[in-house]
Symmetry: D3
Subunit: 290 residues, 6 copies
């Protein structure tokens, strides 16, 4: 029996005990204070870790095992409740550190706003960055009822930061007319409703580029992800999202970071959403971290 | 600050404050007392209204905004608990009034029996009426264990009233052999299991006709609508139901009224069913009310 | 049939349609963005209204009927998601207006921080104000991890504003040692664990004074209020809370406003918490508004 | 292995296979179509039977074992959905048969209206009948929005039938002023809020009389019975209800029948309400059937 | 009124009262003690029976009615809690008896390990047996953390017993690399991810052979079967599983027994999983029992 | 930022990072495979840790802070699914190690059978051991349907091991007649139904003795602990259990170890049971570890 170390049960399955030796770092961003509808995604990272013990370590899709990737579970970034400004700054700083150490950042939300400071940090390090964005919502507002830092604005912010033509959104089925119009006028790619087919067309045009992948779990139909803030009918299946991750993994883009956000466990009694998220993260680790 | 009016928070999102100026009227029929299996659809209309605040007002499917349609939320029709006879009469009277005022009736159930008096009233006003019916169940019984007014009989009643050949059912995957036989013998259309493909074939044959659309939410697979009285495997996705509404909206039929019934919130912890229903109603408003 | 007015179903039962003629105003403060544990109280006011239709209008405890009090349901104060500073200011302004019009304010939370601007506004109007506070928690922190506006600070704020000796807390079973010490050193009353007995002793000493009553629903044991952010064992029963409200109603204090906060419906499948809150509000209306 | 009989798993635990040899008969009345608030008690009897397998067969309260009483589980009375008139008649007929055969009737609801025809049948057979009634609600309305057969009227009906002075209600905490007044004016006993203490005072006055006991599970506080149609704060504990059953069992009254109604499983995820009901029924069998 | 028999309500709908006259026997195997993740499938059989009352008796897929098949519901096999060795033996003995009497065995799990003794018994009686296996998981481990009797081993056991080349698995999306490798090396068929298309290719090659069909409900996507021990994204729809059953029913194989396992009701508030399972069982009865 | 250690978020709040420096060790025993009714307590320890972040670190009951006790969270003992014999042996060995190192063992269940090997190990080290046992059930069976290792037998086992007169059970409200008789005949103390009053009488008689405290959470009424395997009406409140822990803490007995078992999170949507358990464990740490 070995009692010489603090118990560390609730880490993402098979995560490596040593930061320095790891290629990737998985971390939570437990923030949900700007959401306009149903809060609760602050508990997403903890629940995803908890249910990850139910995962097989081998992917029959990619024929690769979690043993083949070294990743460190760094826990949740401590964020100040109700203060989005400080939270955003803390996340950016945190990612700057990870990137300085040469780690692949794999984030778990929290609301989608957390992706904004991550992408900003990634854009500092990687030239010619493109964003691949899976979501039910455009997230292209300039503000939400006057608040610039809102779960409705992260894609607008990164689009303005790196140029709208470098942002590719898939599966969008909800937004204001102004958002769709802005995207069109500014050369940003939006695939309405569809995901896998347009993705397969876009990927070759991104060959060789640095790409950050951000997945809002609500790109899935509510049938496949009931545990999220905004459940919006007409989404894709979990099979299609898996296939999309595999399409990216099998393409010639250079994935430099990724996240999966908006898992809110309290709305999902069966915990299928957290379980599905943990499987997607496994595939992202196995497919994106070479 | 304005305190000069009664609070009216729980109305369907963006509904118009004035009845006279409105083209359409949305109303609830909170009745569930004849159901043979799981009750609870009486709370469907209230919950659909409540979650409608999570809806975007713009439809990227139809490129139309709720601002472009004027509809009044008239609340729920007060119905006497446990008395289907009086309830049926009250609904018919109510719809008569709406139609006299030239309004487009958009109803929310409640059990499916509520559609019978609505369709009867609509048939009085509109000649040459056809019914487009989405459902898992035939609803063609003459009675249920001796009770003629039952959630299993509304389509039989309207079929006998306007002629079976004017009724078109889609997605049917449950019923007694006698019901399927009756439909066949009497020239009523039933698409077993399938919805969108046969609908697209039928719509041109209905060009120019007055059509009432009745949607039992259980036409969806239980994965997409767990919150309903009878969950029956093998249904369609919410994407296919959206596409079906859009197919009708884009056809040459003249939709003169519609309803969506059988949302029973208590069986759906994630509230995806009520959210999905509210989105379907938005698309019906934007697609059917010209 | 009458279609001349917007539907107004989801108001607190029997609320009066006219603001000017009403003695009291009931309103929601749907804010939960500073909570450190489980969010969701933003939906408390809407759900309390919804279930209030299940209430009898007569109180056999007070032998009084809701017909005997005129109160207006003003809906929810629109608050900016994720911005506690603006929210606090908006609430204070709102209450200032109500008080200027001579209304009795009866608020529904939302997290407990919302009570701070209400009490501040009430203290501007009423001299010699005392606070009666029911809660599991002291809420006496100066800040929570650096944030001064937190669900853990409202009682500290009002205590410093009107003087700690004017604040009476009952049922407290959770807090930091520093909070209990601060209360003791500054002459603030805290009844640890107990509610009804110490309340009955205190009330005569407050005779003739203006009193504001603030109830955090978690003063109840989790058995009686599972639907709240922080469930903390060892609380009182709903019978004891009812008796406490009745003790205040039957005393010689002059209640000038009240609130009930921290109902978070998503954690309570049976909806007993919202139902219990609606009954408490009925008793507060009948007992406090003369 | 024995395959010679149809499986009969879902019967109340330890029920006797032979009707003729049984002293008591346990039966369900799965009706909920007149309830004004939350339906679902139609599934009460089935769920109570299902969870009864978790019961110990021995009562340490009464020092008696289920082996010492012979009772037959007759299943649910088949009732026509949505037709209270026929349902009421069928129940009365059914009880007439049981009583003719000399059985002790022990009923499971369903809504409280089902007790009316049972009590009527019992009053035909037993002279000088008294009713002991545990409930949160008076149930003394003459009608509910015009409907005479309603879950709000059964106690009024039996009170008028056998004389109000023969009806003893305990634990009542909800009703219209008119109902309380009617009871007072007509000499009917109502113990407001309290149960065990007044019951102990009343029981000696009923010595030697025939008594029917009807328990609405909502006499319990929602903490103890969340799975019921109307959850109303301020009720008693399950310990007090157990003690009340034991007080009757230990008194000199002659219990000639009993029921327990209003268990609605869907509102109680933990199934504590059905489990509690099954324990109460065990104590009723062991305490009332001599 | 008929009181001459014990109530037998909770049997699978329309099951026949006489064992001897029945062609098929439906029985439960309420065991879940070796599962490594979420237990609860012991309650699967009882809940499937309970919800089967919501089924129509006629299948529009097969144009056949439950009246046309005689099946006896034998209840659950009593199994010793926590003892897999004895449980396995008891099941095998039980099936031996059924087969000796010439019955078609239709089992309900319980965890998947229960299928092992059933298949073993079937293999004793029927020469040249093939297994058709629907599952998310390979279930091909030799042991689970040292325990040979585990829910992860049943397919390995039967494959070794009758020869791996006689086992056909469909829909597999989870397992260890070693399991997939073992299958490949030993000539066992595994269709990864896909079900209906490869099944249609395989069926003609099995023409005339005796086939046992075992369905782990988790072959369905979690959207379609949230109520199971291991929810694993990327599964098939209930439509595809229905079509697969119909493909077997319409083929030239001779189905000699079947089961459906791993329904765990507590994880599925809407009860869609149990409802879906009951429909699958109806189709298996109508399609497999000639 | 510090990335030099593996994340260790899901430990019991404020647990100490170093085993050697700790006075007490908290550990989980995630076993539930012998339960006869509802499984799920294997997830109790993980959920209790998870919700412990909502605890205050200071106890106003004991005026002591978690900073004043050093305890190490050793995680869950890895136990072989479905094998009670090996599990029991592993637990005993584990506790032997802890005791050899002079640690105070504080265990979290899991089913109650896990307490048997713990108590056996404790009895090896400490002379003159007495057991204080809080439970709804006697747990005095010799076997359960032939299985000697069952959740119904642990108290019988320890009673036979250290002598029945050294075992004191409180709050018992369920069991077989034989169990109560055995206790009486053998001089074992059982307080039926009551807890705090008899405990206060017994404690002085145990002054100076070594005592192990085992708490089955179902000693609480289902209202206070719905999340457990067997919910049995008529239990005590969480206030009384807190007071009982404090009574032991304030007495002259020498507590040498303790556990709290049978928390099964899936049956408790509000998570009040896990939250209550975490508070009880805090009080046990602060009250028992000197």
């Amino acid at each position: 029996m070995k009692f010489d170390e603090q118990y560390s049960g609730n880490v993402f399955i098979k995560s490596h005990p040593n930061y320095d030796e790891s290629q990737a770092v998985i971390y939570g961003m437990p923030m949900d204070w700007t959401v306009s509808y149903r809060p609760g995604s602050r508990f997403g990272p903890a629940r995803i870790r908890e249910v990850s013990i139910g995962l097989e370590e081998y992917s029959p899709y990619l024929d690769r095992d979690l043993d083949e990737v070294k990743y460190f579970d760094a826990g949740d970034i401590p964020l100040p409740f109700g203060n989005p400004y400080k939270s955003i700054d803390l996340i950016e700083e945190y990612i700057d550190s990870l990137l300085k150490d040469g780690k692949f950042p794999l984030g778990m939300g929290g609301e989608h706003l957390v992706s904004w400071p991550v992408m900003k940090a990634v854009a500092k390090k990687y030239d010619d960055l493109a964003i691949i964005h899976f979501d039910a919502h455009t997230d292209l507002r300039t503000d939400y009822e006057g608040e610039e830092l809102s779960h409705s604005t992260p894609i607008r912010k990164i689009a303005e930061h790196i140029g709208p033509k470098n942002v590719y959104s898939f599966g969008i089925r909800s937004g204001m007319k102004e958002e769709f119009d802005w995207a069109k006028e500014n050369g940003m790619h939006i695939s309405k409703f569809e995901v896998l087919e347009p993705l397969k067309e876009i990927l070759p045009t991104l060959a060789g580029r640095n790409v950050y992948v951000t997945i809002d779990i609500d790109v899935l139909d509510p049938a496949h992800a009931p545990g999220t803030g905004t459940v919006d009918a007409g989404g894709i299946t979990s099979r299609e999202l898996l296939a999309s991750i595999h399409a990216i993994a099998g393409s010639n883009v250079n994935v430099v970071g990724a996240d999966l956000v908006e898992v809110a466990p309290v709305y999902d009694h069966s915990e299928q959403t957290a379980n599905t998220a943990s499987k997607m993260l496994r595939e992202m680790l196995l497919g994106f971290v070479k």
